[in-house]
């Protein structure tokens, strides 16, 4: 079969991994529309919106306290770079968006660091970006953390706490997305 040998060389794609946590994630089904572990391929010109309104947002949260559009992520290319970079923008008039220690107000935006904590209300997102060659597409992947991602969390002190409590969880969790039933208690 020569098609494998003759095909265009595959390019790697920029990948954004988002590990999320909310203290009420089991009781309230806020992440029920998120397909955890699924790698989604999106065009690089896409403005990815996160919020409550499923008509506007790409990723939605079932939570009345979330703004219709809470924040957005978009790719751009820096002038002397061959890879794509992310920009994060607060789209909420009500709630600040905290990126590591920086606070973004409505319509403020900033470059997303390679690895950072994004927070609004009680939502926590650990964002981790891997560079890729492709300028046409990028990938996203959501991971659900069963525990808080914040270092200062005083979760049972007798158990060792991994720094962000996520890496080891990738292997211990099943490969199918976590389903959350509204009635689960």
């Amino acid at each position: 079969m020569t098609s494998f040998e003759d095909a265009d060389t595959e390019e790697t794609v920029t990948c954004l991994q988002m590990t999320v946590y909310h203290p009420g994630q089991l009781q309230y089904g806020i992440f029920q529309s998120i397909r955890f572990f699924n790698r989604e391929k999106l065009p690089s010109s896409e403005v990815v919106k996160f919020g409550r309104n499923s008509n506007i947002c790409h990723y939605t949260f079932q939570d009345k306290q979330v703004s219709r559009v809470q924040f957005s992520l978009q790719l751009f290319k820096k002038f002397n770079s061959s890879v794509l970079s992310f920009e994060i923008k607060n789209m909420s008039k009500k709630t600040s968006l905290i990126v590591d220690s920086r606070e973004l107000g409505y319509l403020n935006k900033m470059d997303l660091p390679y690895r950072c904590m994004v927070r609004f209300g009680e939502y926590q997102f650990l964002m981790e970006k891997e560079d890729g060659e492709s300028l046409e597409f990028f990938e996203t992947q959501f991971i659900l953390s069963p525990r808080s991602l914040l270092q200062e969390n005083n979760w049972p002190p007798h158990r060792p706490i991994p720094e962000y409590g996520t890496y080891s969880l990738c292997f211990s969790q099943s490969s199918s997305p976590t389903e959350m039933d509204e009635n689960e208690s």
Binding site: F76, F79, L84, G105, L107, N108
Partner: protein
């Protein structure tokens, strides 16, 4: 009382096609705080019928600088084939630059002058368009180096769909 809208005063010029290049451009366009898309495509907010123009050629994205209450704009190139020249800078696909108070923009043979008049509304902004009978940018300043250079302006390049 409603806050005054930020105004973009846009002058447009095309050296060979003249005003007919801008037949679909309304005199006034109000837009919310989402990015305003300019291109040949039906879904562009500002549509221009030109063969060398990409379906989505560029976007104007409103945002707020930290500490400012006045709307700022970021111009982003969305064309894979053509580039966008802005105030002396050539932007290629996904490159972007913040707009100044007065901006000279050139792409696909179009010359555009954009003046930003500050307003305090964070809900929307408004564009006023004017077609200029004479050039807006000195040719020597705007060096376009996109893939279509060298091909006569009357002929669209082969396979011009992105």
């Amino acid at each position: 009382m409603e806050k005054p809208l930020t105004v973009l005063r846009v002058s447009l010029y095309h050296p060979t096609l003249g005003p007919s290049a801008f037949a679909n451009v309304p005199p006034r366009l109000q837009h919310d705080t989402s990015p305003l898309l300019l291109g040949r495509g039906q879904d562009a907010h500002l549509q221009m019928q030109l063969p060398r123009l990409s379906r989505h050629h560029l976007s104007l994205e409103p945002y707020l600088e930290k500490g400012s209450a006045l709307l700022a704009f970021c111009l982003k190139a969305l064309s894979r084939k053509g580039c966008v020249w802005v105030n002396g800078l050539t932007l290629r696909y996904l490159e972007q630059v913040p707009l100044s108070t007065v901006n000279r923009v050139s792409f696909s043979g179009i010359q555009m002058l954009v003046r930003v008049e500050e307003g305090t509304s964070l809900e929307a902004f408004v564009c006023y368009f004017h077609v200029s009978p004479s050039p807006l940018i000195y040719r020597s300043e705007a060096e376009e180096t996109d893939e279509w250079e060298g091909i006569s302006q009357e002929q669209p390049p082969p396979g011009s769909e992105q």
